[in-house]
Symmetry: C2
Subunit: 416 residues, 2 copies
């Protein structure tokens, strides 16, 4: 048995205990974790400092160092997050669709935890606690495999959480950290069939692609967002400009930010200068189709073929003039990543058509794509945003971390 | 572009049309298919005859020839199945959890088709029509990859269905058959990311394992059933004997048949001879633990380690005496395939404990495991029985062939 299989087996056993723990027990464990994180803050910060020193010595750039760094304020935020998860309703145990069949069998569908969830993620150590809290609350054991840059911080967090779990009477093995941060361990985790019920990658497009391509365990694909805003012929143009400005610039690095603006040809001349005036405030680079360049002039970089499929994550926006809503919808379905898509229009029928025909996790009428997340959608929290159609689509909250089992009450029925 | 990618793209385009088709259109297409299958029955039977001749020449054994053979009666049954699917409620379009958020956004979760479903299956040609009907009704395009033994029959079915779809005004590409039946095409289908939203293998354990191991597209694992019946100390022993007899012998080849009997030590001496008397009627071979052999004598074949993990699919039953319900539950969780598990007991607390702690798609009290299927569970039909926890667990009906999308109605909201 490999080290990872040993961890997998321990997690599987812990998951069985956790699966039948009540909400009060799980909440008490989360509170114990919150308190322990406060109590051991200095030790955690000391380990984080070692990660930071090593990263700085290795030449990590400042923006990544910022994501890696913990502080008393950040730990307070993490602790607050754990308490918020504790305050959410427990999704486990609800029985839906209970029916009595003609043969007298009473059959119900009960919500149960998935079992053991694997999370592969990159540098940010806060994910370690956030993800563990969501998994615990939904009754799942979790095997965390973070990036090597944050290993000491992650280890400190996990060690504190495991002790707190045991103090609260639950198995410490409900939360485990993969000790080996090499590519080999990532590959081994992707192949841990029989132990992992689902693997969720959280990180950049490269990581997610690698997991989707290589995993033998079930995967939930998250987070790649090539999102569009389509400004229709009948749009309120000021609303359209506000929405694309917000969707592009309020936080360009996140997956629900817009990467491409589509404009109906009938309003392109009126709308594009208006949008540009706002986007210029943030020095957004525009990569446009020939018609866009005609209207806005030489400031527009001619878009190459790959611009229509790129998640910039930056102050860059692809811009394309389209003939009508049908062309916009077809373009989005061909080039979008199935994340978040918006139309700006005052026309009722065009709005409904867009909602019906665009194939994405979240489809908006007259609102910014930036709202696609668990908090904004009222799920309380999220472990990621699924861009696949199986199991969960869009923001994944606690319910999306559960499965079901049929429970069947009989009185001796046999099948004839 | 490979031939399969071309089919994938065509299916994807067809799926977009099908996704917005109403129930009336889809039902009309299913009725057109039913009528066309009747009309072209002779042509289908002629192609099936060629498959049968080739299979017989290749030395296919009789039981497999029986599964491959069509007849007017079998086609009538298939047609009846299509009409039953047409009569089921359309799962697409239902909006659940629609709420108004504090910022005025109205957010609903709408049930939508998965998109393009791949099905890999083995010899039985009826699967071709059954699976296509379920996919069509749930708004999904389907790419079918059947076994080479049934290729001509499958081709005849698919050709008839495609014509009927076009007559009914829907794209023929909603149903496609992979023309190449080599292992290469199966592998290519498993890697058809970007085209297939989900791949469902239907067949033996070897096929399912190959798909789970190799697929890069999302997979729903189906059908492997190592199911147990546990007869508790407080069981009605006659009921227990009837249930294990039914679970083992009513149809041993199917996945919801029992493979292992667990008996509480306190009733083993009274129960085992009673069960054996019934099982002897069907000449069921018993492979037992030492205590079972002690009680039943030399007719018991000593169980080897692998017997506790084997899906016999035959008149063979593993038998084990256990100390108590806890040992039974732990044994089931370690050795079961997560399909269907049953307890026979009159004790309320033991029954609840078993329902809570056994981790399987369907957990039964005082009933045969043989009830786990879509018809018996009231889903109307099924495309398979999922033994994984992601997306769907247990019998998969029309609802399990759908995904969701969030629809968001705004009035100009931007995120601050």
């Amino acid at each position: 048995m490999t080290a990872l299989e040993t961890q997998g087996l321990a997690a599987k056993r812990a998951a069985r205990v956790l699966a039948v723990a009540g909400a009060a027990e799980k909440n008490a464990a989360l509170e114990a974790i919150a308190q322990a994180l406060c109590l051991h803050q200095d030790a955690i910060l000391a380990e984080n400092q070692k990660d930071l020193d090593a990263a700085r010595a290795g030449g990590m750039k400042q923006s990544l160092l910022d994501r890696l760094a913990l502080s008393p304020q950040r730990i307070a935020g993490i602790v607050e997050g754990v308490r918020q998860v504790a305050a959410l309703p427990d999704p486990v145990g609800e029985v839906t669709r209970m029916t009595r069949r003609p043969n007298g069998l009473i059959i119900g569908k009960r919500r149960v935890p998935l079992g053991v969830i694997g999370i592969i993620y990159e540098a940010r150590p806060n994910v370690t606690v956030d993800a563990a809290a969501l998994c615990l609350k939904s009754g799942n054991a979790v095997i965390l495999r973070g990036g090597k840059e944050a290993f000491r911080s992650n280890q400190a967090f996990v060690s504190v959480m495991r002790s707190a779990l045991e103090t609260a009477g639950l198995p410490g093995d409900c939360v485990a950290l993969v000790e080996d941060t090499s590519r080999k361990s990532a590959n081994e985790l992707m192949g841990l069939t029989g132990y992992l019920d689902v693997l969720i990658p959280r990180g950049g497009a490269g990581l997610i692609r690698a997991v989707v391509q290589n995993a033998k365990v079930p995967v939930i694909e998250t987070g790649v967002g090539v999102c569009h805003v389509y400004v229709d012929a009948e749009a309120d143009l000021d609303m359209g400009a506000d929405i694309i400005y917000n969707a592009k610039t309020s936080r360009p690095s996140v997956c629900n930010a817009a990467e491409c603006l589509l404009v109906h040809e009938a309003v392109a001349e009126a709308f594009l200068p208006k949008a540009k005036a706002l986007l210029d405030e943030k020095h957004v680079e525009l990569r446009g189709c020939p018609r866009t360049a005609e209207i806005l002039g030489p400031c527009v970089v001619p878009a190459a073929a790959e611009d229509w499929d790129t998640e910039y994550g930056d102050y860059i926006l692809a811009v394309r003039v389209v003939k009508d809503a049908d062309e916009a919808i077809a373009f989005i379905n061909d080039h979008g990543s199935g994340h978040s898509e918006a139309i700006v229009t005052a026309n009722y029928f065009t709005a409904q058509k867009f909602l019906d025909e665009v194939d994405a996790a979240a489809v908006y009428v007259n609102a910014s794509t930036r709202f696609t997340d668990g908090f904004e959608f009222g799920l309380g929290a999220e472990i990621g945003i699924s861009t696949q159609k199986m199991h969960a689509r869009g923001p994944m909250g606690l319910e999306e971390l559960t499965s079901s089992k049929y429970i069947v009450y009989g009185t001796g029925q046999i099948r004839t």
